[in-house]
Symmetry: C2
Subunit: 437 residues, 2 copies
Amino acid sequence: MTGPRINAERLLGRLRTLGNIGRDEGRLTRLAASDSDRAGRDAVVGWMHDAGLEVMVDRIGNLFGIWHAGDANSAPLMLGSHIDTVIDAGIYDGCYGVVGGLEVVQTLREAGVKPDRPVVIAAFTNEEGVRYAPDMMGSLVYAGGLGVAEALATVGTDGTVLGEELARIGYAGPHEPGFLRPHAYLELHIEQGPILDREGVAIGAVENLQGISWQRVTIDGVANHAGTTPMAMRRDAGQAAARVVTFLRDLISQTNAPTVATVGCMAFEPNAINVIPSRAVFTVDLRDPDEDRLRAAEATLARYLESLADAEGVTVVVERLAQFDPVTFDPAIVAAIEAAAAENGLRSRRMTSGAGHDAQMIARLCPAAMIFVPSLKGISHNPREHTQAADLQAGANVLLDVIRKLTHVASGEARSFSQQNSKLGFAYDDSFTKEGI
Amino acid sequence: MTGPRINAERLLGRLRTLGNIGRDEGRLTRLAASDSDRAGRDAVVGWMHDAGLEVMVDRIGNLFGIWHAGDANSAPLMLGSHIDTVIDAGIYDGCYGVVGGLEVVQTLREAGVKPDRPVVIAAFTNEEGVRYAPDMMGSLVYAGGLGVAEALATVGTDGTVLGEELARIGYAGPHEPGFLRPHAYLELHIEQGPILDREGVAIGAVENLQGISWQRVTIDGVANHAGTTPMAMRRDAGQAAARVVTFLRDLISQTNAPTVATVGCMAFEPNAINVIPSRAVFTVDLRDPDEDRLRAAEATLARYLESLADAEGVTVVVERLAQFDPVTFDPAIVAAIEAAAAENGLRSRRMTSGAGHDAQMIARLCPAAMIFVPSLKGISHNPREHTQAADLQAGANVLLDVIRKLTHVASGEARSFSQQNSKLGFAYDDSFTKEGI
């Protein structure tokens, strides 16, 4: 594909600049609606102005840079991600989608390209959910999955209220979330998994996003003395919990399904070396791109927990913490990503997003898809998170070419794509208004 | 057996009085060398004076009430336990041995009984080890297993220094630990396990005490995203830890040995719902009355950890936290306990102590044994710790009758016992100077 190419130096420079905002004693932490978040937003607003965009903020603090192009009455094409981070974060997660989108728009504007509709860069509030739960909050509210008043009333881990913090940092905007209904949404993101890196593939054309089931399991047994209680008389909550952990992996190992199961949190009570645990509390994170298979895994776990309660003489209580249905991205956009990668001489593969992203929320509103670039060793949410400069550049150029296709920028290829693109609306009506996020 | 009987009302009243010293908002906590411990010691000292005993304190704060009886040059018979408690404790653990011993001595004195040697009540410092490690410290120092200067320099969980705290509460005595070398040692204690209660047996004649092996295992894997990392590419420290927990129980279930294994502490890092654990740290408490079997269990665990490291792609580091060899109590004293129980019309059984006790330390110095009474449902270290009044009374009367046997109080039975007792010294030389506590 010929046409304008992004300015890699500018892209990388902005990523580095943003990656130094909120850095304290070497650690990058830019939690939603914090002073660091304000400083990061201020930098992005400055770059939006540099690119000639109009900046707008909605009530939940989602930040938009609008390129008024094409037919002003047309629904805008939206590109975006988030700039909040986890604690002790890397510099790419989220930021790459915002800064990369900005780079694409600035490049297109500087090249005098005329899209047929407005293009909007979005930076959604509180994607990480570290300070305020749930995660992906800004895009969830934007898509109508959570009321704005309820979201603004959220009390953070530090006792602050999100709405007050947004007002304090000057990013409580006047617009109703959802005020711009996008024509389509594209999110450029690091994979946060090992597949592209391991396979040496530059571009992931993300065709779906796993369904996520989060449960908290509390097992109650009986605390007793570790020395004086014969094994057969124990009701050991820790032992029961360990059996769940091994059961989950053994269950999944029996199949070829892409299901993943993780027990990430575990706590024993009283947590004393010589006391049989009276209580074990742990989380189960189950994911699968297929909804039926995800429900089946949950049901198998539930049956196991029931039999375990009998066998171990313990009680088991399960709470559901989160449930996100799987999301199928728009096949035409996914095909456009593959085509753009090929035209750039890059290897690509279709893949599933294992992580949650703002794209899964905005997919409720419009056709959507994601472009992944490799994460070194799959590491993310960590200072060692890394993507090669060449991969960052390639991903942004693929995004640029997909944008050109979706905004009908004059060229033989683009015109032929525009014929396909007109089908997207129907695909959206059929498949994208999912409930239960 | 005929002869004086203990004053149950006085015994129970003193247990209740002691059980209300250190009670705060309903919770009983009397940590070693605390203000509450001072108040508890003051009460015990008062009762010792009431009973006509001379009170002496050694440098590590062990408290002794001496009944100057019989041949002043004879080694004294020692009865004892401890009065420090865990946090949110019951009222019997330890206190029963001290108050019960005191009751026996006071009863014998009041009845005009003349033992052939001095009798000493001991309350050892810091048996629980909650504030200062290790536990059983006072008796360990007394038996020469830990230097007194080193013990006094111990820094507590609250940053205090044991020696300073003992001086502050007025219980840093002048005598060298070990200054009274006992002829024999007897400890009356609640079982802290479920066996006597379940079997409806009043008296446990404790013939040995389990060896204890405490290890801390640290497993390091790789933290990764729970959604994006395929199961086959994980190095999940939590999964590996869970496999150790289930392995341990499955290992022991295959045998009929009395080995017990407990994983009481468990912690995952980073302990986040959507992050594969990079680290799991847990403790393994292994106990067995047979030293060879205990070493074999440790070796089997070590081999399993090695194979696990390979299979799971994790590293495993094992630290030894404590190791107590099994202790065999004196067979003649154990037989005397059984005989006294029978003479009192009480069912008894020989048993193993699953918990550690001061008796295991003093058994280095002289022939020793323990008398157990039932713990309701085996509960201890808990406000629900309970022993029936009738059982408390029966246990103290059995102790009294054993003391009469061991101090050659005139009677046909006691004289015949004294012939056996003279062998104890040799048994001690052969078996009781164990190293490695």
